[in-house]
Symmetry: C2
Subunit: 288 residues, 2 copies
């Protein structure tokens, strides 16, 4: 593995052992292919998505992962909690409870939340953020009772209108800190936060408050594609000082998995095994 | 014009009289067409771009605009000051001095600066921002001697790697305040700042410091196009609470032109006169 002495976290894992692959990075693989591929490559953690987990069956997916000796670093994702309409809101809350149940079934402690954007015609970001807080108040106890923490993920400001009204670590932390630490945490994702000169302070503050539930890595490359969803860069290909982020997150006391989550059709067009090997190698070269 | 009593600024202009059209919003028009179209529509201010001004000749452009009774709210744009290479840096400084000269010829007090992105392979945003500061130190006195203020424009974080390492009003203000107020100001542009919950405080702070040199308006619409440059929305079509921004900027003491700067091929495909009339009407409905 790593030529240097392993850095040991609370879970006794070295830096290399902290690597997790988010399922969406290699979405050409089925869940069984992903699990077999990780086991073969010595990857110990996976971040899963609800769609493929539901398709395979959450209990069966949990067995598959556990039998291969893998742990689930995160379940992606709950959220979309900004609807003002009562029926849409009730539906979103029910769906998020189901996501908590799935996370608990998979024995992951982290349900990633993408907060949701502005309802059509709405221009009030502050009110939408307040509706996210209201939803966290309803969902937090339900999640904590099941050993799952809701992890608010601040998304890049380019998603503020249509996906996530929580755009910065400071906003996510202000939101999280209104709730008990075992109910609500946050996700530090380099792709969303790299541009922000206040992110370093935010990571330190989040660490002190015990709020970092997940650390995800992807690089920033341009030009962005239409819709700006599927343009994430392979680690090392872009503008993000990934190692600095890892050091900041380490210094803040986070010692859990480091999850590579890269949405990019050019990775999906390739052999899954090759993509996994490349991502592990890039992780060692640019993140560790 | 406006049915309500006109709000009078220092220059004696009412709210409706503050409207400025940025040339790039109707780029299908030549400079003479733009000037004639504005005069016919009663629009009193234009924001110009260096390309068409150079093509027409700066002195001739200045005469054309002046003879039609128009003022130039801004010249767009200088900047791209982040090169680390000495030759590229010297070239950028020379080009910015030329831009200052053109602004002075056009009798506008505002040269908009887009700071520039990261050089290829570079991942150090903080160092790039510091190179912008170094350039401002060199250019500021040159500009002020010619009655021109350098206006730092914070661009949306989605441009941080390739166009502008200054992403927030707070960053722009921290940068501006290192220089005399007559040398360096900033641009408040709704398209770039709308998502930021600290923008309101930033506008108040910028107003107190006398740093607001320009106020530009465009709306935020999705999906963003490939490259994310030409996807700005017509006023009222998107997610931005434009009136709130205008009220914040007013409350901060800015009483200059309000410039509509919308880059969108769907506007360029239409009759220029129709686009100007629509933009004025949208300004009255959504900004005033």
């Amino acid at each position: 593995m790593n030529a240097e002495a392993p850095r040991t976290g609370a879970a006794g894992t070295s830096g290399a052992d902290r690597f997790s692959i988010n399922q969406e990075t290699i979405k050409q693989w089925s869940l069984p292919e992903l699990v077999a591929g990780c086991a073969a490559a010595g990857v110990q953690h996976v971040g899963l998505w609800r769609g493929p987990v539901q398709e395979y069956g959450p209990a069966a997916a949990a067995r598959l992962v556990r039998d291969a000796g893998l742990t689930v670093s995160t379940l992606c994702r709950g959220g979309f909690l900004t609807a003002a309409d009562p029926a849409a809101r009730a539906e979103a809350l029910a769906d998020n409870r189901a996501a908590v149940d799935e996370a608990a079934t998979l024995s992951t402690g982290v349900l990633v939340l993408v907060s949701g954007g502005l309802p059509p015609g709405d221009r009030d970001l502050a009110a939408a953020r307040e509706r996210v807080a209201d939803a966290l108040a309803e969902l937090g106890p339900y999640a904590a009772e099941r050993g799952v923490r809701l992890a608010i993920e601040p998304l890049h400001p380019m998603y503020a209108s249509d996906r996530c009204v929580v755009s910065t670590l400071a906003q996510a932390l202000d939101l999280a800190e209104r709730f008990p630490v075992e109910q609500v945490g946050l996700v530090v994702d380099t792709y969303h936060l790299w541009w922000d000169d206040t992110a370093a302070d935010g990571i330190a503050r989040a660490g002190r408050a015990g709020r970092i539930a997940s650390f995800q890595v992807a690089d920033w490359v341009t030009p962005l594609p239409e819709g700006v969803l599927l343009g994430r860069g392979q680690l090392g290909d872009g503008s993000v000082d990934l190692r600095r982020f890892r050091e900041l997150v380490d210094a803040a006391g986070y010692d859990g998995p480091i999850e590579a989550e890269i949405f990019n059709p050019s990775l999906w067009a390739r052999d899954g095994k090759e993509v996994l090997a490349e991502t592990v190698e890039r992780y060692r070269a640019h993140v560790l």
